[in-house]
Symmetry: C2
Subunit: 407 residues, 2 copies
């Protein structure tokens, strides 16, 4: 397996396009279209919020009923959430507009939205956007990159990743794009992730692969579960690689999962590092836990602690906050057995031994914490299980963005 350039258009048979539909943003692209030459199997994971945006409901039905998918229409600016009956009507009309422009069944059109909650989508602009994107659909990486930019809201960088691997003597490619810093700052603007592959794989194994991967990637940049109203991860497989169909567990499935994990881990870390207002990617590794579940719970508790995040922003080795966040995670452990370390490109430092300070150099710790990617390592000395979570620091800019996001 190796990384290659490109995003959703990297696998064979996938095209992308984008346009400026003026839905809410001005002078920038705010719609994207992903299209496959042939019908795809689709898997998806969605927000667990009780309040679900209309596109989530629409996509869930399609994915659950194993309806073949050929296109995804995405808009940024308005989330189409808390829009009542009109919201779901808007999904149907969007799908019908894509259906007629692309000459495909409307039940095979997935939709996704991100932006302000509670505002209605302007149907005429959505329809015009679809009309303008269909003629410019392209296999080029550039089209994929433009699509990745079009779905951004408060993101500061677009997010793409692709890998290639060999399965059954054939080259299989997985590509993806995502937006959002959503799950780091739980319950804020949406996480959307779109992954394409030319792998030949059954719907059942595609579902299985996605669920395995989501647990260790997107779900590790979240504390409150999938809290946004719109969070969506969609995976389309069109089979164009012509590998022997992956229809059971085994070496081929493992290879596919490994590739899928890489693409999604890269996208997830990019989201975490691009958290609203963030100046640093904050990685938390928990080692020596007594179960994987507890390792994950502990890692998430630290990575989402506001106080810890503010300390990372201040390049302050305020380890008491980390120990405190471990302590309220809901996992039993002996505080007097815990070791803590900080690590970055600038080095690694042992901060806490058996629950108390090692008497480390604050100067050296601050130097290590001044990099744009920093890691806290928590060794619980309870067992052999570990987990990693990703987040970012909490900054003045985060408050600025969210105090007047709508204005």
């Amino acid at each position: 397996m190796k990384y290659i350039d490109g995003g959703v258009t990297a696998p064979q048979g996938f095209k992308a396009a984008s346009c400026a539909a003026n839905i809410k943003y001005e002078n920038r692209d705010d719609m994207a279209l992903i299209y496959s030459d042939t019908v795809c199997k689709a898997a998806g994971t969605f927000t667990r919020n009780v309040v679900k945006a209309a596109p989530v409901t629409w996509d869930q039905t399609i994915v659950k009923n194993n309806i073949g998918v050929q296109a995804i229409v995405v808009n940024s600016g308005i989330a189409n959430a808390c829009t009542g009956d009109d919201g779901i009507q808007m999904c149907i009309k969007t799908a019908m507009a894509a259906s007629s422009a692309l000459h495909i069944p409307y039940e095979g059109v997935l939709v996704a939205s991100t932006g302000v909650i509670g505002m209605p989508l302007p149907l005429d602009k959505i329809q015009a956007g679809i009309q303008s994107m269909v003629p410019i659909l392209s296999y080029d990486n550039e089209a994929g990159t433009k699509a990745a930019k079009a779905i951004m809201t408060t993101d500061t960088i677009s997010k793409e990743a692709s890998v290639t691997m060999e399965i059954g003597g054939k080259e299989v490619i997985i590509g993806g794009m995502s937006k959002g810093s959503g799950m780091i700052h739980p319950n804020m603007c949406t996480m959307l992730s779109f992954v394409t592959t030319d792998a030949c794989i059954t719907k059942e194994m595609l579902d299985k692969a996605l669920h395995i991967v989501v647990e260790d990637t997107y779900n590790m940049i979240s504390v409150d579960g999938d809290t946004s109203t719109n969070d969506t991860c969609l995976l389309l497989a069109n089979g164009k690689a012509e590998n022997p169909i992956i229809d059971k567990e085994g070496a081929d499935f493992d290879t596919f999962v490994e590739g899928l994990m890489e693409v999604n881990k890269t996208l997830a870390k990019m989201m975490a590092g691009d958290g609203e207002g963030a100046t640093a990617l904050f990685e938390v590794k928990v080692a020596g836990a007594d179960s994987v579940a507890n390792a994950k719970t502990l890692a998430k508790s630290v990575v989402t602690s506001s106080l810890t995040k503010a300390a990372i922003y201040g390049h302050d080795a305020n380890w008491g906050r980390i120990l405190c966040a471990l302590g309220y995670a809901g996992v039993e452990f002996d505080p007097e057995n815990v070791d803590l370390y900080f690590e970055s490109q600038a080095g690694k430092i042992h901060i806490v031994h058996k629950g108390v300070s090692t008497g480390y150099s604050e100067e050296e710790a601050t130097k290590i914490l001044s990099e744009d990617a920093v890691t806290a390592i928590c060794d619980m000395h309870m067992g052999g299980f570990s987990a990693t979570a990703w987040g970012c620091d909490l900054t003045h800019e985060y408050v600025s963005i969210n105090a007047d996001y709508r204005s």
Copy 2:
């Protein structure tokens, strides 16, 4: 029952003192002493964090074993948490210093600390502080107020409340002081609350009263449970009011609980409104829930949502975030039945009806949200249960305080 001036020295027989012990802060008082002329019954509630500060362990043992209490020694600046065996030794030595200066048994001395985690307490300064406070112990309200100031860390105002009531023909007074904005911003600097009363009441009923009251006051300004390593609420009763002893449920107990609720609710709301960096008290009332437990869960979910808090800071009626926070609280409800209102001294406005916008005036909503105390009312239309939670807005200043709290 009516409010009166004063704090911990308002009830009969309680004295207070404070001093500048130079533990961490300079040029301000940082130690307080509360003393009762006679031995008190004591009740307490403490942090549920796995990582407990040494004073919590010390106080829990005393309260649990029904040991008579006559004094509380408090310091700010250093939390005496994550200090290993030395931490508990420091509690014992503090109690012994108070014991010898006050001529009381050392097992009757409660201790409390708040401030930086992981640093050792300077014993000589603590001992000198106790020596200097004993001669100036006073029944005056002024002494109580100075004590309330001495225990502040990032607080901007000191917090006191007192009420008087009649029980069995005798005047009974309850007074209290507290510090911290700790439970609003979970896992940060400690909440400490000290309440005194001259009521005559059994240990059993004192425990019961405190637990009833804590559930609806301090625990409603928290989302992650009692997350700090040091959170402590102590209640001392010295019996000097000479009312007929309250030894069972009934009218007298109810009167006492009512008074205790008022004092603690006032202190809790003051803590919420004085949350680190806060510009406004944010109150969330959930009505029409199908159980009290669900009403509390929903109210806490909204009051601690970073996004909602940032919107309150921006005076932005971003109701989608409130609906979203209700949605991920873990309570089942129908989003299409929810009504939302905002209320403050400037008026009341109906924002959402049956899950969608009422088409309210943004201008009017912003006016209502520009007051220094604002309320969101969420009517779930599911049943007859309600709950109120208190918090504050999320501001630039919060980030500033916590990015360099130690420096």
